[in-house]
């Protein structure tokens, strides 16, 4: 079953002569357990798609369903609660709060949601451990390497059993080895049952996805089918 579904979503900014069609009639379904990459050039509408999928902005037309719930049926507070409880975001520049330790950064979304500090910190520590960051829990963002900061950001995005992960150019300025680790962690979160959408212009990041959707001028113009199994691919390679 689709955990995230965009149905006939259009987003228009401005009006009249200054009208800009950021997204036009987008249909997109993301199953629980799968990773979908949305690929497109700058200005193709990728980031708008992600903010609408994550309920940070409303579409001009069409409907977004998260976990079966239509976002248009939720109040402002209802959407905020949905974001806190079910959606994790990973941004290009990590967006960690500089004055908080790694542990506090990860536990914050749970505490904002009313979970007791003790329970929230327990869940945050578990999430950090899962990403090999137990020893770095008390460090502040400026004491962490770029790769570690992004792992903290992913730990924060999946903490407390969130079910939808939305990532905008999640490898930021990381080198290719660290970028690969980021995608590996996102894919692992999917294999544990999360639905994930990664928007990127980078083909190497996109190639970690189960399905790649191509966006151009605000429209989905093409997509790949789910990848065949690695064994079939290896067996089909031409013999030298």
């Amino acid at each position: 079953m689709s955990y995230l579904e965009l149905r006939d979503v259009t987003k228009i900014y401005g009006e009249g002569a200054t009208e800009v069609h950021a997204l036009t009639r987008i249909d997109l379904s993301v199953e629980a357990g799968s990773l979908v990459a949305v690929m497109g050039a700058s200005g193709s509408g990728k980031s708008t798609l992600l903010t609408i999928a994550g309920s940070l902005e409303d579409p001009t037309a069409g409907e977004v369903y998260v976990g079966g719930r239509a976002l248009s049926s939720l109040s402002r507070n209802g959407k905020a609660r949905l974001r806190r409880q079910t959606i994790g975001y990973v941004f290009q520049d990590f967006n960690l709060l500089a004055g908080l330790s790694a542990l506090e950064n990860v536990s914050l979304p749970l505490e904002l949601d009313g979970v007791s500090a003790r329970k929230a910190q327990g869940a945050a520590m578990e999430s950090l451990e899962g990403f090999g960051l137990k020893e770095r829990a008390s460090h502040y963002p400026d004491q962490l390497s770029g790769g570690e900061r992004q792992r903290v950001a992913i730990a924060r995005a999946v903490v407390g059993g969130r079910q939808l992960l939305l990532a905008d150019e999640p490898s930021g300025a990381l080198d290719s080895t660290n970028a690969e680790s980021v995608m590996r962690l996102i894919l692992e979160a999917c294999r544990r049952g999360m639905a994930a959408v990664v928007v990127t212009h980078d083909a190497q990041l996109a190639s970690w996805a189960d399905r790649v959707v191509f966006l151009r001028d605000g429209r989905i113009v093409d997509q790949t089918l789910p990848a065949e199994s690695p064994d079939t691919f290896l067996a089909d390679l031409p013999q030298s």
């Binding site: 690969e180 083909a203 996109a206 190639s207 970690w208 790649v212 990848a227 290896l234 013999q239």
Partner: protein
């Protein structure tokens, strides 16, 4: 891929026989480049003729026949390792040619042509990348082979992305030369340093 030098490299570790060379070659290239056993024997015969390997005195004929590397073979291997492959002249790239041809044809949507190729390349990249997901077979050799292939395909996707960006700017009237019909390079220009 030079099978000749790969076999010399394997023999530089110590004497080996044909079947063993084939198995080790495949294992070290992550089973990505399967090698035909006939190719191993033909190559060994040529290496022997050129004085780069010698048959072991004591070994039998057939699949158990052992070989060792000679001093000339070791020198050849060292020289080969340090000789850069020829990247000085651009290859006649079929993908580039197709996009250039599409540019000059009336009624052809070049962006659609670009997307067909982009999707194909991304599907291949997905297949290579998903091989990395199973870490049980992800040893160093295999990782390097897969990385090389992913980077090669990625460079083609980047070229397509750049081509599409240039087309968009050209269509919007940003100063750019109008495309010539069939602007295929007539003569290959030498670039890069001396070889």
């Amino acid at each position: 891929m030079s099978v000749r030098h790969a076999l010399l490299a394997l023999l530089s570790e110590g004497p080996k026989y044909g079947l063993q060379l084939r198995q080790e070659f495949e294992a070290r290239t992550g089973d990505v480049w399967p090698l035909n056993v006939g190719q191993v024997y033909t190559t060994l015969q040529r290496l022997e003729r050129d004085g780069l390997v010698e048959a072991e005195d004591s070994s039998e004929e057939g699949p158990q026949k052992g070989f060792h590397i000679t001093d000339e073979g070791a020198a050849e291997l060292a020289e080969w390792l340090r000789t850069p492959p020829d990247f000085s002249s651009p290859p006649r790239d079929e993908l580039v040619i197709k996009v250039l041809v599409a540019l000059g044809l009336p009624g052809v949507d070049v962006r659609e042509v670009i997307q067909v190729h982009r999707r194909y390349l991304i599907v291949l990249m997905q297949q290579w990348t998903h091989l990395k997901e199973d870490e049980s077979r992800f040893d160093l050799n295999f990782a390097l082979v897969v990385d090389a292939e992913v980077f090669r395909l990625d460079s083609l996707v980047r070229w397509l992305d750049t081509a599409e960006g240039r087309l968009k700017r050209a269509a919007a009237g940003v100063a750019a030369p109008a495309p010539q019909p069939f602007p295929l390079p007539k003569a290959r220009r030498k670039v890069g340093g001396p070889r």
